[in-house]
């Protein structure tokens, strides 16, 4: 009883941390820092998954926790790190919308997300049910981030962050998806990142920059 209560507290703490990180991502400019934040996000996910697994005693969740550790804390950040090393794209230039406004929009989104999550929270039986709203918020925030950023890499990081949010939602709402699906998702993700990696180089060799405003030639004029 106490244990599960404690765990619930911890989980809420972690969720709060997740939300904080998302806001941090919205505000950060340096790509390097974004990657670090992304790694932290992964770590929190890993922890929360472990906690849930411990609490619910589900072996599946241990696996997916392990998966998270490998993929999202180690592999992806490392790949991304190497990428920006090779591409020399540490700095992101000004976002399209200036930071404060983005933050405000983010706040609104969070409220909206909580509002949406209400019915689900009502029904959910899981220990983590209160965190669903946060998961949704994280998804929307990273969506916002993708919209506001100008660089290919930052958009990708936003995309990955969104995927984290989804994962968090899965664990918190339903103790995670079935293993097959988890694996499938993970695989897709990995492939996606590889493809993106290839793309970065091709884009750079074609446009010798990763700035997205080069990619605006296909349009109706």
């Amino acid at each position: 009883m106490l244990k599960s209560h404690l765990i619930a507290q911890l989980l809420k703490l972690l969720a709060a941390g997740l939300l904080l990180i998302s806001f941090a991502m919205l505000s950060r400019r340096r790509t390097q820092r974004l990657i670090t934040l992304y790694a932290w996000q992964g770590a929190i996910l890993f922890l929360s998954t472990c906690l849930v697994a411990w609490d619910a005693g589900l072996t599946e969740l241990w696996y997916s926790a392990a998966l998270t550790l490998i993929l999202k804390v180690v592999a992806m950040p490392w790949i991304l790190h190497r990428l920006i090393q090779r591409l020399g794209a540490q700095w992101d230039n000004e976002p399209l919308v200036n930071i404060p406004i983005t933050m405000l929009a983010g706040l609104v989104l969070v409220i909206f997300a909580f509002g949406l999550a209400q019915p689900i929270t009502m029904m959910a039986t899981t220990i983590t049910r209160h965190t669903i709203g946060i998961a949704l918020a994280v998804i929307l925030l990273s969506f916002l981030m993708m919209i506001t950023r100008r660089r290919a890499i930052t958009q990708v990081i936003g995309f990955l962050a969104m995927e984290n949010g989804l994962f968090f939602a899965a664990t918190s709402a339903t103790y995670g998806m079935p293993m097959v699906i988890e694996l499938g998702i993970a695989l897709d993700l990995l492939v996606a990142v590889f493809i993106l990696g290839i793309f970065f180089f091709q884009i750079r060799e074609q446009f010798d920059s990763l700035d997205l405003h080069h990619l605006e030639s296909l349009r109706e004029d």
Partner: protein, 678 residues
Amino acid sequence: MSAPRWLSAATALHGPTLHSLLFLVAAWVILGAVGLLRPRSVRFVAHLLFPLGAVGCIGVALLAGTFLATGHTAEAMILPLGLPDLPFHLRLDALSGFFLLILGMAGAGISIFAAGYFRRGEGTAPALLGLQYHVFLASMATVILADDAYLFMVAWETMALSSYFLVTSQHRIPEIRRAGFLYLLMAHVGAICILLCFGVLQGGSWQFTFDAMRGASLAPFWATIAFALALLGFGAKAGLVPLHAWLPEAHPAAPSPVSAMMSGLMLNTAIYGMLRITFDLLHVQFWQWGAAMLTLGLFSAVFGAAFAAVQTDMKRLLAYSSIENVGLIFTGIGLAVLFDASHMPLFAALALAAALIHALNHALFKSLLFLATGSVLHATRQRSLGKLGGLIRRMPWVAFLALIGTLAIAGLPPLNGFVSEWLLLQSFLFTPRLPQAFLNMLVPLGAAVLALTVALAAYVMVKFYGVIFLGQPREPSLVDAHDANWLERIGLGWLAAGCVFIGVLPQFALRAAGTVTGKLIGQTVTPGASFWRIAPVTPEQASYSGLIFLAGIVAAIGITFLLVRLLAHGRMRRTAAWDCGYPWQTSRMQDTAEGFGQPIRHMFGAFFRMERDLPSPSDEAPRYRIHIEDRFWGWIYQPIARAVQRIADAVSILQGGRLSVYLLYSFLTLLALLVFVL
């Protein structure tokens, strides 16, 4: 769409006539396909297949005629084709019989002519032309025979499509491409309107057979919607003002036999559809419908005649005259609806009969004239009236046959054009008895408009014939114009004979139309007791006898001629034209087409948008040019085009090329939907 309850009481299953008609229709398609065996051989396609097609036309005409004369129970059958729950239904009743009769009679002449007309090296390969031509014929017949919405639409659009390809057979000329595009666009939009009309008509019964639609009872509002949609759709095909813009472009662009088919036959399918829906499926409900058709019809008639009077291209002139005639036909139909809705069946039947007969007449003389222009075109390579003239001496055959057509279309007794116009005026005479206030005072004025139109048509036709065939040749090259070949002459002769026959013995046509009105309105029109004249109401009231007219005129002329020969001496010498003694006559001094249209330009100035450039007095080689345009372009068509363009420009902003914006779209969509379900 469950098992269709299509069989109605008055319908005999698998009638023999319908079978043989269907066989002939199929035969046309096969004929067309056979041509592909020897795609480039003009002799094979033109001199063998087209005459066979003409034979098919005659067969159709005979079958339909006998059916009208004898058959009274409609025949129906179902083909195992079409949509799963909606096999193709076919039905032959009086109305379709009458229009098949038209198709056959005029089609035969046109096909024979076409056999002599198509030459090598003119646009599409002859075999392809043959295929398109016969598919066109077959689809028109199918439209008339169709008894369910789907088959009707399929045949309808096939008709539009095949005629489009025929129009664009000389697709290397940009104007022709433009005309074809405009035509197909209007046809398609019109077809969608008709489709929606059927959507209303099926009244939620999910049965698209016409029988189901006859059964369905619609609320007045929906009925009117259906009628309006039908009027839009069929009006667009018939070239009713203001939906006419495509017609004067497309009809002249086609090879002459095709122009003849489009003006003479295809317009009639639109008339047929209008009748089928208004009388048969919707069984007339409100007099307002009639008023609408009447107004549109009269306006189109005057508009068409006025525009025809100022044309300088002989085929455009005929196209505008088609608009005029369609206007007259719609006037008749509108009058019929008006009377029918006011429970005056006899007068309704009279008006409807007039409209039907005029449709028949128009098919005959309009195709005759279009074919004549075709011969002229081949002989002179000229379409512009300003470059023709004096052809009566070079091509007497065509000139003589065209004269018959000209007199007929000008509505002069004893030819057929007069009969239908006479009947129409007769039915107008009863309009003061209409119950609706105002209407019974306004509609009679329609009779005056009608008279004006008919007289204008005479004016137009005098211009048409006089400028092309009479006077001096306006171009030296015209001297070596040659007369039409024998196949062409047969075709023209056939149609001319039709004009004379119906003019002199109108009672047959009237009896045929009478059976149709009997089926549609429940009131037959009879030619009257005596065989030699028609007296649709009573002989005391009015009667007309083309036979006696002809006999009388011939006798009078003959006797006069003989007397003059007997009494006066026949001495005669040829001299130069006197012309008030002016010595330096040249062919340039005759009235040009523009000149002949000048009074009309004065009187109907409101219709036209004119740009004139008058030469300066000091000009050595002065040239007077006038360009006349249809105001409706500026009023309807261009605004629509501009609007679409503007919207398209606005829409294209959505595809701005910036990824973030795209993401924003999907983000906002997401949020909007979430709010929506919240």
